[in-house]
């Protein structure tokens, strides 16, 4: 159990929950924790590390568990296990980092790890202006491009549209993406069609986080233990990426 040291609103439905934990503070970009809110459920969360010894989760409230985590206060105890999963293969040259919603978390961590703003473009996709998060912090880590579906901030259109335009410039040696699966699938397809190395950090429902339960499977891969980060080619080979998910009973469903 770790104690929450701070809570900050990012948008009306997104909060960042800070805590101290040496293990989580050492999490690599793309790694996640299983986070338990006693009485409120457990869910996988991408780990944001920043301050020495400190770490954070950025959570959007939607289901019961994420709403419980969203609702914790400073001083509350939450359970964390992990960090689990792999990390990104950071290439040379100019890099496109595309994040949608709380999918920005691993992109921020990745940008910190690259630590060279001159070769990083951070594409932040959101439905509408108030949902744009981390803008100020991102500006210190690379060139920021914002897209909103409704055009209320930055370019109008989806993050896939914006990524298509950016990748079309031909300047990128690699692209990295995290966000809703259809968005990732669109950007991965764009990058692959242009021969740009691309990796995505996948989010799927998880129970164990360590490759036992199989809940997060995608084809023959397990997001928790084979991922969360996969190469675009591997994702395409699963035949399920962006197309099929499994419900709580494990029944394959189309997106």
């Amino acid at each position: 159990m770790v104690r929450v040291t701070g809570v900050a609103d990012e948008t009306p439905t997104v909060r960042t929950i800070r805590f101290e934990d040496p293990g989580m503070a050492a999490a690599l970009p793309g790694q996640f924790a299983m986070v338990w809110v006693p009485g409120g459920g457990e869910l996988p969360m991408s780990v944001m590390a920043g301050d020495p010894g400190g770490a954070a989760f950025t959570v959007r409230r939607h289901g019961p568990a994420s709403t419980a985590l969203y609702g914790v206060d400073r001083g509350d105890l939450i359970g964390v296990r992990g960090p689990y999963g792999n990390t990104f293969d950071v290439r040379e040259g100019r890099l496109l980092l595309a994040g949608g919603g709380t999918g920005m978390v691993p992109m921020m961590r990745l940008a910190m790890r690259v630590a060279d703003p001159s070769r990083v473009v951070i594409l932040m996709g959101a439905r509408t202006a108030p949902e744009v998060i981390f803008e100020r912090a991102a500006a210190a880590l690379g060139e920021v491009v914002i897209s909103t579906d409704d055009g209320s901030r930055g370019e109008e259109g989806t993050a896939v549209d914006a990524a298509r335009r950016l990748l079309g410039s031909g300047r990128f040696s690699a692209a990295y993406v995290c966000g809703p699966e259809p968005m990732m699938a669109g950007i991965v397809a764009e990058a692959r069609s242009r021969g740009v190395f691309v990796q995505a950090s996948i989010e799927r429902p998880m129970k164990c986080g360590v490759g036992i339960c199989g809940s997060c499977c995608m084809g023959d891969r397990l997001v928790c233990s084979d991922g969360t980060v996969f190469d675009g080619d591997r994702l395409a080979a699963t035949g399920e990426f962006g197309a099929i998910y499994r419900d709580k009973a494990g029944i394959a469903r189309r997106y």
Partner: protein, 295 residues
């Protein structure tokens, strides 16, 4: 020197099978594990209807192993049969959970024509009421279920565990009713409570303990069964390396199942095969069954 073996009429490419409930909802994952050296794979326990299972937390680390109460989440036998139909060439031992003979038989019938070397009956899930242990604790019911399935012409493996009656009575009932093999044991009913919140660590409260902590209990059960019964036994409980697999064989098991330790490590089957193979070579054994007879 062969790792291939035959248990209850099922041909196994190696002595280590994937246990039920692990990684068990994707035919692609099953194929990957069979390609990685698993002797066979067992599906999640399938019920007549789909089950969502319990909400998270459904798994937590405990005592060097894992405590789980997934709640038998599964796509249901009809959906799983369709998944198998869509992925030919991947034999799967199908685990079934239910509460009466007719239910088991009608589920088994869904798999006619598919590559199902055997059905494993989950008579020992420790964290769902009315099925699992409540069935296994009733030897007379076990007997009727096994007889019905044998009457339907399928191979039957009874998976037993430590419930509230003598599990050896369940073994006897299954054997007498014509079961082809027994898998021993399931997870052991257990609970952990977080002292900071005062709450059980699993949403269901009670769960099943798996992994290294239960291995000595499982080895004991395998020895107890094989010293009293003729029915072949598949050892299950905490197998994490080739030595553990060998220990179960020495206890009398004909094969083993790997559960928790396959988590995040599909390479474990190849590791076990390689270790057992060297062990057999050092001892001059040419067949898995010789390990069993050496104890």
């Amino acid at each position: 020197m062969g790792l291939a073996t035959r248990v209850a009429g099922i041909d196994l490419a190696g002595p280590a099978m994937l246990a039920s409930g692990i990684l068990g909802i994707s035919m692609d994952v099953f194929r990957r594990l069979l390609d990685s050296g698993a002797g066979a794979v067992v599906s999640k326990s399938l019920s007549a209807e789909p089950r969502e299972g319990y909400p998270n937390p459904t798994m937590a680390e405990a005592a060097g192993g894992w405590l789980n109460a997934v709640g038998l989440s599964n796509p249901g036998a009809p959906n799983f049969a369709n998944m198998m139909r869509g992925a030919p060439g991947v034999p799967v031992v199908v685990s079934l959970v239910g509460s009466d003979p007719d239910e088991f038989v009608s589920m088994a019938r869904l798999f006619e024509g598919l590559e199902v070397p055997a059905f494993e009956l989950n008579l020992s899930c420790p964290h769902v009421e009315k099925v699992g242990l409540e069935v296994g604790d009733d030897p007379e019911l076990v007997s009727r279920i096994v007889r019905s399935l044998k009457g339907a012409g399928v191979r039957v493996i009874a998976k037993v565990g430590l419930g509230s009656s003598d599990y050896l009575g369940t073994v006897r009932a299954a054997e007498d009713a014509g079961a082809d093999a027994v898998t021993a044991i399931n997870t052991v009913r257990a609970m952990s409570i977080d002292v900071h919140s005062g709450r059980p660590v699993l949403s269901n409260g009670f769960g099943g303990l798996s992994g290294p902590p239960i291995r000595p209990i499982a080895v004991r059960c395998v020895r107890e069964i094989t010293s009293r019964h003729e029915i072949p036994v598949i050892g299950c409980g905490g197998v994490s390396c080739w030595e553990d697999a060998a220990e179960f064989l020495l206890a009398g098991a004909s094969a083993v199942q790997v559960g928790t330790a396959a988590g995040g490590n599909p390479g474990i089957f190849a590791e076990i095969n390689s270790g057992i193979s060297s062990y057999m070579e050092r001892r001059g054994y040419s067949e898995i069954s010789e390990v069993r007879r050496a104890a």
